[in-house]
């Protein structure tokens, strides 16, 4: 406890505090700009922080990391374009709320949910990190394989109208995911002689295409014939949800926050899995509401989950020195450059710095609330006032630049255009986007861990059912997969009965 207080006294030093606030601001902005994300920003900032004192350098980096994925929800809600990959699910209900004139409410929900998720996980980080990190080590290749299967079961849950179409899209996504060198054997698959595809289809340019370009193409159909249209400006005075709403969202926050924390602690599981699982849980728990039409829980679930992943992904890093995701891997670089080794010795040798980092996650999440609301209010009052025709041009400029910047190559712009067209065609055919993204993220994880498990078990698939955690995950996945089938069977039976009757 004393150490925690030490951390607080360090972070409230004027310079450290300013650095943290600055980091949070930068994170919000880069998160809100489609095409920029926390990874690219951290990568750029780390060499800049070379020359700084760790008391200033680290709070900046923590601030960026904490707030970027919340910043991503702002354009997801206002424009249907997620600012970062962590907000792809937020678009489903968030944008619908904006269309209903509830942009302010949606932003408020996303803010409170993010702050809740973030504080939840930063408390775990402060008090339970070593214990939780040990638990995460129980996950080996078979468990990760089972976890990927569990991730896929959310597709079955999301199937609103057509289960077949959802599964079809999922398979298409998995096929896209096989492009590039195969895991374990390194065989180049379906890369058509293009070196850029050897590492797989570039993910961020693909997302920019699926969301940014598709949205503009959709818009152009109708808007070019309209007179200059302005949104009926929604009143964004009341942003913060009232007590009734908080009470309503609290279960969603708790469940999504827990999912986010569990996924965050597991190195390599990833934010995308967390947001999909928590959205799926929200859908399953609220059968009376029609998700996809602007349901508050649809915004609260992914936003609470993604911010819970942020701080909890630092648990394996700070306790074991194992990075949970690419942003955490960049953190290792930042710490090393300062002469700090992540791991238990960090807390022994440099308690002031180590506990400052923990506390910075906590304080950063609190700062993110008011700063995020200010930015959200500002953006919604400006973005929604600009004629959409003009905004489209600016968005396209951001899209092409962001796609290029992800690998400094023009090839990424081609990827963006390709997936822009795919997204548009998908919309026309009423094929959902979300299973595609999930499949592209989980496909490689599933295949890699399957092949690794097979090496470990010398070819016997029994390894997946003889290990308790893996078995448990597979049973839960089976249950989730089965429910929509059973439900649709029931419905069919009912319909047949009513038809014949």
């Amino acid at each position: 406890m004393n150490e925690i207080l030490l951390g607080f006294s360090q972070i409230f030093q004027p310079l450290s505090f300013l650095a943290l606030a600055f980091g949070v601001l930068i994170g919000l902005i880069v998160g809100a700009l489609p095409g920029l994300n926390d990874n690219i920003t951290l990568a750029v900032l780390i060499p800049i922080t070379f020359g700084m004192e760790p008391e200033i350098a680290l709070p900046i980096l923590v601030g960026v990391y904490v707030s970027a994925c919340y910043g991503g929800s702002i354009p997801a809600i206002l424009l249907n374009i997620p600012g970062t990959a962590s907000s792809v699910v937020t678009t489903i209900d968030g944008y619908q709320m904006t269309l209903k004139g509830e942009a302010g409410k949606a932003l408020g929900i996303s803010t409170t949910s993010s702050v809740f998720g973030g504080i939840f996980s930063s408390l775990l980080l402060m008090f339970l990190a070593p214990f939780l990190a040990k638990q995460a080590l129980r996950f080996g290749p078979p468990e990760y394989f089972a976890l990927a299967i569990l991730g896929f079961s959310t597709v079955a849950g999301m199937a609103g109208k057509s289960l077949t179409k959802n599964l079809l899209v999922c398979v298409i996504g998995l096929i896209f995911a096989t492009v590039g060198m195969s895991p374990q054997t390194g065989y180049p698959r379906f890369y058509f002689g293009i070196d850029y595809l050897l590492d797989g289809i570039p993910f961020i340019p693909m997302l920019i295409g699926l969301f940014g370009v598709t949205t503009i193409l959709e818009l152009s159909e109708t808007i070019s014939k309209e007179k200059i249209s302005k949104y009926v400006l929604p009143k964004i005075n009341k942003v913060l949800p009232d007590f009734k709403m908080v009470k309503r969202l609290l279960p969603t926050w708790l469940i999504s926050g827990s999912i986010g924390n569990v996924i965050g602690i597991l190195p390599g599981a990833g934010m995308i899995m967390a947001i999909y699982m928590s959205y799926d849980q929200a859908v399953r728990r609220n059968k009376d509401k029609e998700f996809g039409t602007g349901v508050p829980e649809g915004v609260a679930a992914p936003e609470a989950a993604n911010n819970a992943v942020v701080a909890s992904s630092m648990i394996p890093l700070l306790s074991l020195g194992v990075p949970g995701n690419s942003a955490a891997a960049l953190f290792i670089g930042a710490l090393m450059i300062q002469g700090l080794r992540p791991g238990p010795s960090l807390f022994k040798d440099y308690p002031d710095i180590a506990y400052m980092i923990l506390v910075a996650f906590f304080v950063g999440n609190i700062l993110m609330g008011p700063m995020g609301i200010m930015l959200g209010k500002f953006l919604s009052s400006t973005l929604l006032r600009v004629p959409r025709q003009v905004l489209s041009g600016v968005i396209i400029a951001l899209c092409v630049t962001g796609a290029f910047a992800m690998g400094n190559s023009v090839f990424n712009i081609w990827v963006m255009i390709f997936f822009g067209i795919i997204g548009y065609v998908f919309n026309k055919l009423k094929l959902p986007h979300s299973p595609l993204i999930l499949a592209i993220v989980l496909g490689p994880m599933m295949e890699l861990n399957y092949l690794q498990s097979m090496v470990l078990s010398k070819g016997s698939p029994m390894i997946f059912v003889t290990r308790p955690i893996s078995l448990g995950l597979l049973i839960i996945a089976l249950f989730f997969f089965a429910t929509p089938f059973i439900n649709s069977l029931k419905d069919n039976l009912k319909r047949k009965n009513s038809l014949s009757g």
Partner: protein, 144 residues
């Protein structure tokens, strides 16, 4: 979009699946295993879709006239942009792209269009090139 497009989709994906399986012929077993399963699943689900669509052929929803023209124009503009970005350089190409998109979207005020393009491209350039050190294409003539 009625059931016709769904039938086309299903048949198209079945073809993709068959072509995919054909492509896998020369691939050794471990890397080919997953794609093989996936192409079979693709054919399977497409067939399920095809059958279910053919069954419910009557509930084709009403057709809406869609104006594909601007969609094609924007896609074409993006393709052209990507082809010439290395020749014209990032600044000029993107500036022209933004003007083009705003015009295709049907915005009538030309001066605002130009000003917005100029300002937005300059800001984006400043963020990416100057702050983030992204090596945006320089172009053959201007060297920027």
């Amino acid at each position: 979009m009625g059931w016709k497009s769904n039938i086309i989709l299903a048949i198209f994906l079945i073809c993709v699946g068959i072509v995919g399986l054909f492509l896998l012929k020369d691939m050794p077993e471990p890397p080919a295993m997953f794609p093989e399963i996936l192409f079979f699943l693709l054919i399977f689900f497409s067939t399920v879709l095809l059958i279910s669509v053919l069954k419910n052929s009557k509930d084709g929803s009403e057709k809406k006239e869609i104006n594909y023209y601007p969609v094609l124009k924007i896609t074409g503009g993006l393709v052209l942009y990507t082809l010439i970005i290395k020749i014209l350089g990032y600044l000029l190409a993107t500036f022209l792209l933004v003007i083009y998109i705003i015009l295709v979207m049907g915005y009538p005020k030309k001066l605002i269009t130009v000003v917005v393009s100029l300002v937005s491209v300059s800001i984006i350039f400043a963020i990416f090139k100057l702050l983030l050190n992204v090596p945006l294409p320089a172009g053959l003539f201007l060297g920027l």
